[in-house]
């Protein structure tokens, strides 16, 4: 996917004026509130959180070891493990596997790593048909849009928009009536997809966790499409990234509970499947080939630096669902695959710092994301680290640079500071004295365009305090 985070400001502005998006985001706010009720009602949530963090920190500290163990165990199960340093390498691996399988079509379950790899475009370029089987992704394929959320890819669409999309794209089915009910729409998508499941030579899914002790991987969905995608085609491709490995099944158990709870408020997702390798002799179901493609794409570097905690991320989306900025501007404004708070850290790491300056800045540092993150990732602290990298590399907006520089220079000279602030306070107070506020400020149009600036009371506290002290001393003598 093309990186367009440099357009954050204009995209966000447009999003604020898009009524469909605003309706959809209001629903997401409600959904997030519902999820929080479930989380808060879970007695051992904090315990799980501490456990999961400890497991993941340990795994990351020995990541090479666990990846090697995973690979060895996976090979034993008949899985072929492919390592991809870059998205381009991953694309090549996937396309080659499809070609070897003489695939005309692939079915695909939702995979954000697949988005990161750019698999969809690579398949299109190779002339291979792709059918998305996750309902949200199916809708987006009709709309030709990227996901706006990491586990509810189409949450930016309203029901009405989906009705229209289905009506337009399913015309040739000969259906006359306009479908209204979500259940009817789902049934139609299902019916259409069934056929694709049986035709496709290759099934592509993501993986939520890779298990080092036995070489298996865990896949969770709420629609069951992931299982059909994994089991029906002859060739299975699993797209994952290197930080998804966990030492044992028991460890995955801890993470699975946190993931389901934080993502949707469920104790466990509707479908939680453990896949190990290929079909054994005598078995009826399963793929004949199983390929796992492991993407690095900058993660090894993150492991060595101050962004390592981000590698704990289990992609639950709690941070974005609870982010007041995300819930106004929607995921597309962020301009890449990972939106919201986690994306504001991931995107600069996986792409570049220069074109992503807005992401960690479009944040009030309100701390809600870190509060809800099940993996206790200090997202606001990392936003600040990114801002300090901007500062050091001269990427900070010039107005901010100047403003902060001037302010700091002034604030480190208390006497001058007191003089100038006293003058400014008096002037502003005079200008706003009648109404108690100013509706225009020459240097702060951003503030006053849609809100007033309350006027200062007049004298500064320091002035009045010194006066009070002088009066007190005077009356005491």
């Amino acid at each position: 996917m093309q990186l367009s985070s440099a357009n954050f400001k204009s995209a966000a502005r447009a999003a604020l004026h898009e009524p469909n998006l605003q309706a959809a985001m209001a629903e997401n706010r409600n959904f997030a509130a519902h999820v929080r009720v479930q989380v808060d009602g879970t007695a051992n949530f904090q315990g799980l959180r501490a456990q999961a963090k400890a497991i993941k920190d340990h795994t990351l500290a020995h990541l090479d070891h666990y990846l090697e163990r995973y690979e060895a165990a996976a090979i034993k199960q008949g899985t072929q493990v492919h390592w991809a340093q870059t998205p381009e390498q991953a694309q090549q691996i996937v396309v080659d596997i499809c070609r070897q399988a003489s695939a005309r079509s692939v079915i695909k379950g939702k995979t954000m790593i697949g988005e990161e790899m750019g698999i969809n475009d690579a398949l299109a370029r190779a002339g291979i048909e792709r059918y998305e089987t996750d309902l949200g992704e199916y809708i987006l394929q009709l709309a030709d849009e990227p996901p706006s959320h990491i586990n509810g890819p189409a949450i930016h669409k309203t029901l009405e928009q989906v009705q229209d999309l289905f009506h337009e794209h399913h015309k040739d089915l000969g259906r006359e009536s306009f479908l209204h009910e979500p259940a009817e729409l789902l049934a139609e998508a299902r019916r259409l997809l069934r056929k694709r499941f049986f035709e496709a030579e290759v099934g592509i899914t993501g993986a939520n966790f890779l298990i080092a002790e036995d070489g298996s991987h865990v896949l969770v969905t709420n629609e069951g499409n992931g299982d059909l995608t994994s089991l029906l085609p002859k060739v299975r491709i699993v797209l994952a990234s290197i930080e998804k490995v966990l030492p044992s099944r028991a460890d995955a158990g801890v993470h699975l509970q946190l993931l389901a709870l934080s993502a949707t408020g469920q104790p466990l997702t509707s479908y939680t499947s453990l896949y190990g390798g290929t079909k054994n002799a005598g078995e009826l179901d399963g793929a004949e080939q199983c390929h796992v493609v492991l993407l690095d794409n900058g993660r090894s570097e993150m492991l060595a630096g101050e962004f390592r905690p981000m590698l704990r991320c289990i992609r639950c989306a709690a941070c974005m669902d609870n982010c007041p900025v995300y819930n106004w501007v929607g995921g597309h404004a962020y301009g890449w695959i990972y939106p919201g708070p986690m994306g504001s850290i991931w995107t600069p790491q996986l792409t570049n710092l220069e074109q992503t300056v807005d992401l960690p800045n479009a944040c009030t540092l309100n701390g809600r994301c870190a509060e809800v993150c099940p993996m206790q990732i200090p997202l606001p602290d990392m936003m600040r680290v990114l801002r300090s990298q901007h500062w050091q590399q001269q990427l900070t907006a010039t107005t901010t640079r100047w403003g902060i520089g001037l302010w700091a220079a002034l604030a480190s000279r208390p006497r001058l500071y007191r003089l100038l602030t006293a003058m400014a306070a008096r002037t502003m107070a005079w200008a706003g004295s009648k109404r108690g506020r100013l509706s225009r400020l020459p240097l702060a149009r951003g503030w006053t365009e849609q809100r007033d600036m309350p006027a200062p009371q007049g004298a500064t506290f320091q002035q009045l305090w010194q006066q009070r002290q002088a009066d007190k001393n005077g009356s005491e003598q």
Partner: protein
């Protein structure tokens, strides 16, 4: 460590008045002094203080943030306590100064020492001094906005509510999403004004839906933002800092109000 001349055996409190209170609303500073004195403290106001350095810190200019932190550390050496009427500035001192000096052991020790005796005003009155009977009155229905840093970094949630409930004539109602950010966010409000205003407007709708006639909060930055949007929408809801209400200093124009209402 510096020693101070004391005129009594009362706890000696240095008031960190914050740059916003100094500039916009000295009455919050005087309300703070009154509350602290009533609670038996001796209050002084170091004149070397300007700003805690949070704007520099949050803009990624860590060097200047450190310089300003050193200034605060020096200005407030020797006090028993450092207290300020802002969760955000006090969290800068308590939580972020030690972060800033992670690689400078000498300053780290001083920053940690300062952090240990620094408190936000209302939590200081409630949790450290156990003051629960501040004896003031306010006629009105109040809703309280939780400012983010105070809430999430310092755990300020029940303290201001408990204190407000003691105020005669005051009835406290909860608004929806009281814990949701108002969109101020320091420089965020001018860097991303459209998003910031949307967040402020949502806050304003929640305040109005609560039926309150007064909004109270513990951070002037947020209050300036919310008040600015309230008056622009023509709302009659009054805005006061929690210190002003607790000290009974509400006969003056509220935030954003002129001489004549």
């Amino acid at each position: 460590m510096a020693t101070m001349t004391r005129s009594s055996d009362k706890p000696l409190v240095g008031l960190l008045h914050t740059c916003l209170v100094d500039f916009y609303r000295p009455s919050i500073g005087f309300a703070s002094v009154q509350l602290l004195e009533q609670a038996g403290c001796e209050v002084r106001v170091p004149d070397l203080q300007t700003c805690c350095g949070q704007p520099a810190f949050n803009s990624g200019n860590f060097d200047q943030a450190r310089a300003m932190a050193r200034q605060v550390i020096k200005a407030f050496a020797g006090f028993d306590y450092v207290v300020g009427p802002s969760g955000s500035c006090m969290s800068q001192v308590k939580v972020h100064y030690p972060q800033l000096f992670a690689d400078e052991p000498d300053w780290l020790a001083q920053a940690q020492e300062l952090a240990g005796r620094s408190f936000e005003l209302v939590s200081f009155l409630s949790d450290v001094l156990n003051k629960t009977d501040l004896q003031s009155s306010y006629q009105g229905t109040v809703t309280y906005h939780d400012s983010c840093s105070g809430l999430r970094e310092l755990g300020i949630k029940q303290q201001p509510r408990k204190q407000l409930e003691q105020v005669q004539g005051l009835s406290l109602v909860e608004m929806a999403e009281a814990e949701t950010c108002c969109g101020f966010g320091g420089t965020f409000c001018v860097k991303y004004p459209e998003i910031s205003v949307r967040m402020a407007s949502q806050k304003v709708s929640n305040i109005q839906a609560s039926g309150a006639d007064t909004l109270v909060g513990g951070d002037l930055g947020c209050l300036l933002n919310i008040s600015g949007r309230l008056t622009r929408e023509g709302s009659p809801v009054r805005v006061f800092h929690v210190a002003e209400v607790l000290a009974g200093m509400t006969q003056i124009p509220a935030i954003g109000e002129g001489e004549m209402r």
